[in-house]
């Protein structure tokens, strides 16, 4: 909250000083542009989606290899992943600003070559709101309020759809087979909370803790959520066949495209809420 306020103050202050744009990214670095960015390279799928949802998709000149939504970005030049971003490619695309994750290794090199890089990696809903705001400012657009309200609207509608019988039940949402789970302080955990469901993962463990599989077995979650392939092989994990949720079929397995909507902290947050609500409705009907 304090960081949000401070960033906002800095923006207002510098906006008052000059016509330029000034945004503080997640590293604490202030990115300054003379005018709204017209050529953008994104190195994180959620940032790609954010740019497009702010109606600036045509300004994208390059993305990372994992960005696949909306379909139009698939034709854009791909510049690698988090560890192996192709510096030459990015520089040759002559972007006004590069939107990257905080752990992107290429940041230092790109900045040394004179490019402006904004590292934005949201983890919670509050983060996401701030990131959408930062991206909007860099684009010189003000659609962020509209976008955020739409997300909130979609989430509320989804919450209304969740059957009363499922409220308060505890959910285990898996983000990786190791297993990494989504905790209540992560963005997807907060969405689940907004839908009226609980989480087997306690808040203290952080946003995406790596759990001991034994923990999940003991916690006996009411609903299991993951990719459909993961759900299928869960029964084969040692001790997991004892999970009530598996035995009674109270699982939500999503195909990859839908699963990506769930785990990307992007503007499709509302859609994610609706996907979850849709699954819960189906579960309530079946049982």
């Amino acid at each position: 909250m304090r960081r949000c306020g401070l960033a906002l103050w800095l923006c207002i202050a510098s906006a008052a000083q000059a016509a330029g744009i000034s945004v503080q990214d997640d590293r604490g670095v202030t990115v300054q542009l003379d005018r709204p960015a017209q050529r953008i390279v994104t190195l994180l799928p959620s940032l790609t989606e954010t740019v497009c949802e702010l109606k600036a998709c045509e300004r994208l000149v390059g993305t990372d290899r994992y960005s696949n939504w909306p379909a139009s970005v698939q034709a854009l030049p791909k510049t690698g992943g988090m560890e192996d971003a192709n510096v030459e490619r990015i520089v040759a695309l002559k972007p006004d600003v590069v939107l990257a994750a905080v752990s992107t290794r290429a940041i230092g090199r790109l900045e040394a070559l004179g490019l402006k890089v904004a590292a934005l990696e949201p983890k919670s809903h509050a983060d996401m709101r701030r990131v959408i705001g930062a991206v909007a400012r860099l684009l010189g657009k003000d659609g962020e309020e509209l976008l955020w309200r739409r997300i909130e609207q979609q989430t509320r509608e989804a919450a209304a759809k969740v059957p009363a019988s499922l409220r308060g039940q505890h959910v285990y949402l898996e983000v990786d087979a190791s297993p990494y789970a989504a905790g209540p302080s992560s963005f997807v955990g907060e969405t689940l909370a907004a839908l009226g469901l609980g989480n087997v993962v306690p808040k203290e463990l952080g946003p995406f803790p790596k759990l001991n599989p034994e923990f999940v077995v003991r916690a006996q979650p009411d609903i299991l959520i993951g990719t459909d392939t993961a759900i299928q092989e869960m029964a084969a994990r040692p001790g997991w066949q004892g999970l009530k949720a598996l035995k009674t079929g109270r699982t939500c397995g999503f195909a990859m495209p839908q699963y990506e909507v769930l785990i990307r902290p992007g503007p499709r947050l509302g859609e994610a809420a609706q996907l979850l609500a849709g699954c819960f409705t189906k579960l309530a009907q079946a049982h």
Binding site: D84, N86, K94
Partner: protein, 332 residues
């Protein structure tokens, strides 16, 4: 014999020049002679490809040298630069800085100390590598005991520091991704500053290695014979370990963990020529440079505009050649 050595050096020199030229020409943006005039293309060639090429060669140089020193010091053909806990130490230091950065994130950001954080990762990796080796020396009681003791201590330290890094990432999971990203062996992010650091590392390690190479020859006779010849064994071991740590630490800090180059370069040299260590240390360095340079150029060109990880290519290149040599030797 001398002619075989001359031939090897000539081959290495020619290969280096040819590959360096390729390094300037190859890339996702291709080549056109407009690169000599058009400022945008010129930036691509001189600010991106040139330092990357030079950096790849320098990193390979350092790794080839440390591999040869490691194999000479331990008289073991399987010895490689990361033996004495340097890679584990670098990884732990990186993870600690990342975790601290996230924890003290607010403070760092407010102070605008991000530049420190970034220098911190490279500096941390270097310091961590040296720290890992120092810990090994401490455990082996300062190279006073046998060289096998040193080797064992290095293995132990590697495991322990690796486990500690795992513990830190348990407490701060965000640091894990950052560490994996940083430690992945790649030449893609080498700029002129990195080249400067690598060149400094080479300047600090190559001349002493050349001057004191005779010590490794004497060690090859066995430690007792070496001692009877008046070789100051503890000091020699310490010197070699320090050179090893400096060379490996510099390479890891700039390019992450590039495997195989240090292991295979000395073998490639020894399979072509017979020479005392004064020659083989330098030739191994040059071979490492060529190997990593070739790997870097291929990494950019094989599936352009995408890139392959350079470590995979060096393993394929160096390993295949070595296997072919062994096959030929076995068939004779």
């Amino acid at each position: 014999m001398a002619s075989a050595r001359r031939r090897l050096l000539l081959t290495l020199a020619l290969a280096t020049l040819a590959l360096a030229l390729c390094g300037l020409v190859v890339g996702s943006e291709g080549w056109s002679f407009g690169a000599l005039t058009d400022p945008a293309l010129r930036q691509v060639v001189w600010d991106i490809r040139a330092p990357r090429t030079a950096g790849a060669w320098l990193t390979g140089l350092l790794l080839g040298l440390s591999g040869a020193i490691a194999q000479g010091l331990f008289r073991n053909p399987l010895a490689e630069p990361y033996l004495l806990g340097s890679s584990a130490g670098a990884g732990l230091a990186v993870v600690i800085v990342l975790a601290a950065g996230h924890a003290g994130g607010q403070a760092f950001q407010l102070l605008g100390a991000d530049a420190l954080l970034r220098l911190g990762l490279v500096g941390a990796a270097f310091v961590g590598a040296l720290g890992g080796v120092s810990l090994t020396l401490l455990l082996a009681r300062g190279a006073q005991r046998s060289t096998t003791g040193l080797l064992l201590a290095g293995v132990v330290v590697g495991f322990v520091l690796g486990a500690m890094a795992d513990l830190v990432t348990m407490a701060a999971p965000e640091a894990l991704r950052g560490k994996q990203v940083f430690m992945l062996g790649t030449t893609g992010f080498l700029g002129w500053t990195s080249c400067g650091a690598l060149a400094l590392g080479a300047l600090l390690t190559l001349p002493p290695a050349w001057r004191f190479a005779r010590a490794l020859d004497a060690l090859a006779l066995g430690e007792d014979s070496a001692r009877s010849l008046g070789l100051p064994l503890p000091q020699v071991r310490m010197l070699m370990v320090v050179l090893l740590a400096l060379a490996t630490g510099t390479a890891v800090a700039q390019a992450g963990l590039v495997a195989f180059v240090g292991l295979v370069s000395p073998h490639l040299v020894r399979s072509r020529v017979q020479a005392p260590h004064r020659f083989t240390l330098m030739a191994s360095a040059a071979t490492g440079g060529v190997l990593l340079l070739a790997g870097d150029v291929l990494a950019r060109s094989v599936i352009a505009p995408e890139e392959l990880p350079v470590g995979v290519l060096t393993a394929v290149l160096g390993g295949s050649y070595l296997m072919w040599l062994l096959h030929r030797r076995g068939a004779r």
